[in-house]
């Protein structure tokens, strides 16, 4: 195909895909818009605050989701898979593990949701007189939480990668992890337990999840004898369990161990 027509063809295909994504994004966001609208108008029965801002916001969300899903297929997934393939070909386990740890750590440390939760946790703890209320203590507490979670996610990715390569069944490891969580819940200070449980859920951000999933599935596909569906997934599960353990450990170090008697 001559160059000019090829470019035009590519742009048209892209626009068609974007339009399809737009429809799907609208459909994906419809439930939440409906829920809020119905509750606001029918149950709470109060006028909608700032209707124009809400509508613009809803529009931005739909367009943003459409672009994101398109970028997912074009960039995030292929890069994850390409990296997995390249690592498998290079055959160096050490570099792969370093990469996995760095990936988990770097995405978590910058995670806005985690920063927000750590700040809220420090605020709540200071108000409850569990820690000193001055700014310095609160900042270092919040930072300590963030680093703990980031390290745990980095380790989680690395352990998860080892699991994929060795083929260990996932459920033993995860159930074992949750047994440790429950044991620690008994002896960890009450104040840290809720935050610990939440930190596991917070760490899986919109960009990390597709990358990590593509990496895992790509690794599993490039090893003979592994079923990608069974072995490729599971990294996220690790990244949800390990922070709980580490944050409770952090709590035990900072606040001391809770005694029954």
């Amino acid at each position: 195909m001559p160059q000019k027509i090829k470019v035009r063809y590519l742009i048209l295909t892209l626009l068609r895909k974007l339009f399809r994504n737009l429809k799907e994004a609208g459909r994906d966001l419809l439930p939440i818009i409906l829920v809020i609208a119905v509750f606001q108008l029918a149950v709470i029965r109060q006028p909608f605050p700032q209707l124009l801002e809400v509508l613009t916001g809803a529009l931005l969300v739909i367009v943003g989701l459409m672009l994101f899903v398109q970028g997912l297929e074009m960039a995030l997934f292929p890069i994850g898979e390409a990296l997995a393939l390249a690592f498998a070909r290079k055959g160096s386990l050490a570099w792969l593990l370093i990469f996995g740890f760095a990936l988990g750590f770097s995405t978590t440390v910058a995670e806005p949701a985690l920063i927000a939760i750590a700040k809220a946790a420090a605020q709540v703890a200071a108000q409850g007189n569990i820690i000193a209320s001055d700014e310095q203590t609160r900042i270092s507490y919040a930072l300590g939480l963030r680093l703990t979670v980031a390290v745990s996610v980095g380790l989680a990715i690395s352990i998860g990668i080892i699991r994929i390569l060795r083929g260990w069944p996932l459920h033993y490891l995860i159930i074992g992890g949750y047994v440790i969580v429950m044991a620690m819940t008994m002896i960890a200070p009450k104040e840290i337990v809720g935050i610990a449980y939440d930190s596991g859920g917070v760490t899986t951000s919109t960009i990390t999840v597709p990358l990590v999933t593509a990496l895992g599935v790509g690794l599993a596909s490039s090893i003979r004898g592994r079923n990608p569906l069974v072995d490729g997934f599971g990294l996220i599960a690790f990244a949800s369990v390990l922070p709980m353990i580490f944050v409770m450990g952090f709590g035990m170090v900072v606040f001391g161990v809770k005694t029954f008697w």
Binding site: P31, I32, I36, F39, Q40, V43, I44, Q46, P49, V54, L55, T56, G57, A58, L60, V61, G64, L65, L67, Q70, G71, L72, A75, L76, P78, A82, L83, A86, K90, W95, A102, S106, T107, E111, A120, A125, G128, H171, M182, V193, I195, Y197, G200, G201, T204, S205, T206, I207, T208, V209, P210, L211, V217, N227, L229, V230, G232, F233, I236, S240
Partner: protein, 250 residues
């Protein structure tokens, strides 16, 4: 923009590894660059829209639905409220959990991958709906727990016992995906709304300590999808076996 700053570490990491460690050129790099730009712009718009519209509304609504005037019709709540007085909160929580999960981009990504890898056996919508139901149940139970004040770990322990039992009987192929679903769904859209719901609820209900009860709702949202996804697959398999049996008997 803040999104660029957040994405930068990952980008630098991947570029660094691709070029320095692996020493390989990136295939189709133009497409990847365009795709990355889409991801950045898309995520920025998405987050801005959420901050402008959904989060403020959600937080206000969480406060309104748990405010004593709405629930009891008077300024102050009785010392020990009945759990069914807060019925609207459970419904709202369940619906919000369901809706945010459907909107969750991370889950869309995983469902896409699962569909691709299972060559169509796992339908994207089937997985997403199963996870959404799990989150709905989880949030409803979680808000119930905050209202009644029962300890968090009882529910979690009970939930994980169910997970273990299900794992023994579930087809092995679905287990990692089910275990992942819980962690995946608590992401950009779900977490702020759910956290606001939990904190708002525990501050307006008398006798609850926000430091202890406000958190923990997210853990519920992570736990129950595991149960529903495995349950969904088990149910589909059981249903198929029943139909096969009745067809043979005819």
């Amino acid at each position: 923009m803040a999104t660029c700053r957040d994405v930068f570490p990952v980008l630098a990491l991947m570029l660094g590894f691709q070029l320095i460690v692996l020493r390989q050129p990136i295939p189709h790099w133009q497409r990847i660059v365009v795709g990355f730009v889409f991801v950045l712009i898309g995520l920025t718009l998405f987050l801005v829209g959420l901050e402008k519209a959904l989060f403020p509304l959600g937080k206000i609504m969480a406060k309104q639905l748990s405010a004593p005037e709405f629930v009891f019709g008077s300024e102050t709540a009785p010392q020990r409220p009945d759990w069914w007085a807060y019925g609207w909160i459970y419904v709202f929580g369940a619906l919000v959990g369901f809706a945010t999960t459907i909107a969750e981009p991370a889950l869309i990504a995983v469902a896409y991958k699962a569909n691709q890898v299972s060559r169509g056996t796992i339908s994207q919508w089937g997985l997403r709906l199963a996870v959404a139901f799990g989150v709905a149940i989880g949030i409803a139970l979680g808000t119930f727990r905050i209202v009644t004040g029962t300890p968090l770990f009882l529910y979690i322990v009970g939930g994980y016992i169910i997970v273990v039992i299900q794992t023994i009987f579930a087809p092995k192929e679905i287990i990692p995906l089910a275990y992942d679903s819980g962690g995946v769904t608590t992401s950009t859209v779900t977490v702020p709304l759910v956290a606001a719901l939990g904190l708002g609820l525990s501050t307006t209900i008398p006798g609850r300590n926000p430091a202890l009860d406000g958190f923990g709702l997210i853990a519920f949202a992570s736990l129950f999808p595991m149960i529903t996804v495995m349950g969904y697959v088990q149910f589909v398999g059981w249903w198929a076996r029943i139909r096969l049996k009745s067809r043979r008997e005819r």
